[in-house]
Symmetry: C2
Subunit: 233 residues, 2 copies
Amino acid sequence: MSSAADASSENLNGAVWAQIRISDSRDVPNIRRLIRQMAEFERLTHLFSATEASLSATLFPSPAPPPFRSFTVLILELSPTPFPTSNADGGFSPIVRQLHLETPVEDAEAGEFASPRGGGAVVVGFVLCFPNYSSFLAKPGLYVEDIFVRAAWRRRGLGRMMLAAVARQAALLGMGRVEWCVLDWNVNAIKFYEEMGAEVLPMWRICRFSGPALQAYRLQLHDKQGEAAAKEE
Amino acid sequence: MSSAADASSENLNGAVWAQIRISDSRDVPNIRRLIRQMAEFERLTHLFSATEASLSATLFPSPAPPPFRSFTVLILELSPTPFPTSNADGGFSPIVRQLHLETPVEDAEAGEFASPRGGGAVVVGFVLCFPNYSSFLAKPGLYVEDIFVRAAWRRRGLGRMMLAAVARQAALLGMGRVEWCVLDWNVNAIKFYEEMGAEVLPMWRICRFSGPALQAYRLQLHDKQGEAAAKEE
């Protein structure tokens, strides 16, 4: 955090530029740190086991599928100077917006979250989404698994900017829905999403097989009414 | 429903074979009728707009991605005679189980749901799933969007057989989770899933943009704190 570029990022002030762009494998270290912070925020670090290697292998396979056809991470970064104009990346043109900071924002993590694309930009958040499907509509949609903004940068419309970017892309791709989940006690988040036009479905509950309960099905071909479970493996 | 093959299917009796296999585009007419029945069962026919053309285009694109890497439909069919041995289809070997019917099952829809693969087999259900992602685990999983068994064939362990098939495949692929949704008032289904080893998460709620609320984001690049909405389109 001693370089000039880092110092300029630590105290962004006045006009700054926010950009949402498609990630690539160079973003993996930042993505891992953001997911780690999200686990801390949700007090779920005991469930966190992502490594740079496992994130690279699962989020950035080779060859890379087009964005929004598989797991897709968008990066939100801020810069004290305008971003260079960039071309559409697999059909997604970066979304840029200018912010006006009334007072300097102290970002003690700015050095750690330097953008791999340089230019003094700092990564401040991410959104991870992937296609889902509605059989009634016979249309794909997008499911937002994670949306996260680092603490120093919250309450500035950046989460909204990311969710709107996903919704816009879904609409442009002719998709039918954008869906995500919220905790029922998080009334502020629910109010925020409803103001953005979301419907919160009260009656559906998520069911999950994981861990040993999932592994038990490796060998289980038959139900309880069937013959003995297959033993061929 | 006048052919000999149809007649034999209409009153399956004694030993019958159940098979779960990967679908292909020849299954589209049956898949559409099954989704239509599901909409009727859920009293949501006003949301049903799937056509054979839209299902074909979205579920069976060309080239076909490998199963379980994108939207994947498994077909459940029954036959009075053993199924011919088939090879793994994109890595998924059909799962076959013998059922013993104590009394004949009258299936008035058997003719309509004849299997496109012939042999007197009748399609009785389907499951539609696609990959989801856990960032904490840095692992893909499978999300079960639909699981449906036609009315004549319920309460015979066939739904369980399909869900177990998906869970087994997720475990074999090294995935971290299988997830799906259930209505909170459907206590029988919740009990059934819990007996199968599922955890039902009480606190998460699904949020959704759809219809006009989603379309509104086509033009909306900026949040309310930003400058005027982009008008470039």
